[in-house]
């Protein structure tokens, strides 16, 4: 950067007036063009993201049932109510349960599968396809299918579909009320989420692995490194940016989790409110119970939590990756 500014003095050589006018007009046209091309996106973004967020923040200070004018200002009462509600505590806990479990279980699992699939072997593309299929299936179809598979049997002497499979492989003792037992339901939800999103994680990791030069592996092999040593010391470190981006997507997805939970547990909240997430809590108490002000307060809390986690993660984990991508063009 400094070398560029020092090179400046060579500029004034040319005839001053015309060359000055020209860049300015060009500059103006350039800004006009930028404005024209970004305006649609900006308008949509402001109209559908900024304005609703601001409106939600405004509504959250009112007791409003969605009908009639906003009249009853109640300050922070909606926030106090949400933050002191044990059901909301469960919801936040469930979001972070899914978040942490996703990072701890899905990440390593996806990495191992991706490393295995990255080797030349028979039927590789078929396996890749099969692993990716759950991610392609519509959320609603997958959710309803699992609800049917995991449902409790009509009477205790019979077995539901999943329990019948367990019984067939000699694990009949493990049968559970997968979706009806408050202490189990979130584990069930997490298992279904893993089935659904593992393919996506594997795909991202496989894509990242394409960027790891083969030469490094070959060089390591010549130096006598085992396959595992090559992965541990060369491939995985080089896969770092990919893993960090996947983790970011996973964190955001976990915090905003709604559809799969709402589908699996039938109605919002699950047995004894044990399977609420912040989003299902917001829809139930804000939308369905027609307390729009309260729902808005929950939305703002969800927004603040997501923003905080995202910013922290960006600063702590993603900083190096983003710096690289931004400075790369200028240098």
């Amino acid at each position: 950067m400094t070398s560029l500014t020092q090179a400046g003095p060579t500029v004034p050589v040319g005839p001053a007036p015309t060359s000055h006018a020209k860049p300015r007009r060009r500059h103006g046209i350039k800004w006009l063009q930028i404005g024209m091309f970004s305006a649609p996106a900006l308008i949509v973004y402001v109209g559908f993201v900024f304005v609703p967020v601001a409106l939600a923040a405004y509504y959250s200070f009112f007791n409003w049932n969605g009908l009639g004018p906003l009249e009853r200002f109640i300050g922070f009462d909606n926030y106090t109510r949400a933050l002191t509600d044990p059901v909301f505590h469960t919801a936040v806990k469930n979001n972070f349960f899914v978040l942490i479990m996703s990072l701890l279980v899905q990440g390593p699992l996806a990495l191992v599968v991706a490393l295995m699939l990255n080797r030349r072997m028979r039927g590789r593309s078929v396996i890749r396809l099969l692993i990716f299929v759950p991610y392609i299936i519509s959320e609603v179809i997958a959710g309803l299918a699992f609800r049917l598979i995991l449902q409790a049997p009509p009477n205790p002497d019979t077995f539901g579909p999943f329990d019948a499979v367990l019984k067939a492989i000699g694990l009949g003792e493990l049968r559970q009320l997968w979706l009806a037992d408050p202490s189990i339901v979130m584990w069930t939800v997490f298992a279904v989420l893993t089935w659904k999103y593992l393919g996506f994680a594997i795909l991202i990791m496989l894509a990242g692995l394409q960027g790891v030069p083969e030469e490094l592996g070959e060089a390591a092999a010549i130096d006598g490194a085992s396959w595992w040593q090559t992965q541990r010391h060369i491939t995985i470190p080089l896969l770092g940016p990919t893993i960090r981006v996947w983790a970011f997507l996973s964190i955001i997805g976990s915090l905003q989790l709604f559809d799969m939970v709402a589908l699996l547990v039938n109605g919002y909240g699950g047995p004894l409110n044990s399977a609420h997430t912040m989003a299902t809590y917001m829809v139930l108490y804000g939308q369905n119970r027609q307390q729009i002000g309260f729902g808005s307060a929950v939305a703002v809390i969800l927004f603040v939590i997501s923003l905080t986690v995202a910013l922290l993660y960006q600063r702590l984990a993603l900083r190096r990756d983003l710096e690289g991508s931004l400075t790369g063009r200028e240098g």
Binding site: L67, Q151, A152, N266, G267, G270, R289, Q290
Partner: protein, 453 residues
């Protein structure tokens, strides 16, 4: 170069202008669903000339047959009898209509002229916000024919909507299973019900009772029934009018429910069982013979027929032959009216600024002729007194008899108390089903929810 660039700028400006135009087009009023008609919407017409073209938008919850077809026919007939009137009739999924579509339409000032009304607390908020037309004096004839069932759609002596169907809740049971278990007569007292549950347990081939606690309200209906039996009519009306739950009978209802739950009559995993969807729902369990009883509203036979149609793929599947119905049994020594019944219905309300033709359409819907066809279609029990003999469905006849013998009719408590208090009440009752909370806790939850109103 310069010309090219100018061209590019002009093109992008044009594109931008188009986009803005498109946006503003969407931001304005919703275009009418039928682009071929140029008739103005109802709210825009000021004159009452019958020849002046008028469009009435009518939203109902009859997405399935026979109701959807019946309402479409009614709309077409009304158009034919009233030249110049266009009726845009549309059916929507019930909860979607109730919780999203109608509130949003009312708020945006683009409300339909005639729409579904659930009565009780549901209508209270809409009236308070000034969205509904006061029908008092306009529908006297219809009110008289409907009788006291209309009270759920009235507020402070004024009528804001009219119910076109009303039915009550009771036990739907499997006659074959009852006979196999050696139950000779349907239970008329709570002790007889306990006795029946024990016999069915001993039989062992089906759960004594299916309850869709996963859907919330089906479990809550037990508490409503116990409250109906333990509370005096005065206590019930005070609760409905002032949301006052101080009478000890409401705690008593929870205690009775606690004893009932302790007898373990329900299907396994009932906390996750839904009410009406598929063979694993509570209605499905009864329809497929996996449960012997279900406490449910008058619509249940129809729901079971629908489930059997879906499960067997047989278009002509009917509600099971073995189905019977009996009223919630009386409780000895309880303060409540032993013949009191719990139920609900569907009505239609007219928007405040709707054209007069919307009221005429409502009157046509409640005419004995249409009401009789409603009864004959098997969609439900009509409210009009002259249409009562139109019911051919034997299951609905049973409910109708129960309704006729009831001295006091209470609207579903959650509808009656409104979404906030009703929702909190249902939630607390379901938690109680799951072993959390107490009889007092249910009343406390209702009072706490009342505070957030």
């Amino acid at each position: 170069m310069a010309r090219n660039r100018k061209g590019a700028v002009a093109a992008s400006m044009a594109a931008f202008a188009l986009l803005v135009a498109a946006c503003s087009g969407n931001g304005g009023t919703t275009p009418t669903t039928d682009p071929t008609t140029d008739t103005p919407t109802g709210s825009e017409t000021e004159t009452n000339e019958p020849v002046e073209p008028v469009t009435i938008r009518w939203w109902h919850n009859g997405t399935g047959e026979p109701l959807n077809g019946l309402w479409a026919d009614v709309a077409a007939e009304f158009e034919a009898n009233n030249p110049g009137v266009t009726v845009e009739v549309e059916g929507f999924q019930n909860e979607e209509l109730q919780r999203t579509l109608i509130p949003n339409a009312l708020l945006s000032g683009d409300a339909p002229d005639l729409f579904q009304a659930w009565g009780g607390g549901e209508i209270r908020d809409q009236v308070a916000a000034g969205y509904l037309k006061d029908l008092t004096g306009l529908v006297d004839e219809e009110l008289e024919a409907i009788g006291p069932k209309a009270s759920g759609w009235q507020l402070d002596g004024k009528t804001y909507a009219l119910p076109f169907t009303f039915g009550i809740s009771g036990f739907w049971y499997n006659k074959d299973l009852f006979a196999e278990a050696g139950i000779t007569a349907t239970p008329t007292t709570l002790d007889e019900l306990y006795d029946a549950i024990e016999k069915l347990k001993a039989l062992g081939s089906a759960a004594p009772i299916a309850v869709g606690a996963g859907s919330g309200w089906p479990a809550a209906h037990y508490w409503y029934h116990f409250a109906l039996k333990s509370c005096s009519v005065e206590a019930l009306t005070a609760a409905q009018a002032e949301l006052n739950f101080d009478d000890p009978c409401f705690v008593e209802a929870g205690e009775l429910l606690g004893e009932f739950i302790a007898s373990e009559p329900f299907n396994a995993g009932f906390l996750a069982t839904s009410a009406q969807e598929g063979a694993s729902s509570s209605a499905g369990l009864v329809a497929t013979g996996n449960a012997a009883m279900e406490l449910m509203g008058h619509w249940n036979a129809g729901v079971m027929g629908g489930i059997l149609r879906d499960e067997t793929g047989d278009e002509n599947a009917t509600p099971p032959e073995f189905l019977g119905w009996f009223n919630f049994p009386a409780i000895e020594g309880a303060a409540g009216d032993p013949t009191a019944a719990l139920g609900g219905g569907d009505g239609f309300a007219v928007a405040k600024d709707a054209p007069d033709a919307a009221v005429d359409l409502l009157k046509y819907i409640l005419s004995p002729e249409v009401q009789k066809r409603f009864g004959e279609s098997g969609a439900g029990i009509p409210t009009h007194a002259d249409a009562q003999d139109s019911i051919t469905d034997p299951n609905l006849n049973l409910v109708q008899e129960g309704l006729a013998s009831a001295s006091y009719i209470q609207l579903w408590l959650d509808t009656s108390y409104g979404g906030v208090v009703g929702g909190a009440m249902n939630e607390a009752i379901v938690n109680f089903f799951g072993g959390q909370g107490s009889p007092q806790g249910i009343v406390d939850a209702m009072n706490a929810a009342k505070e957030t109103l």
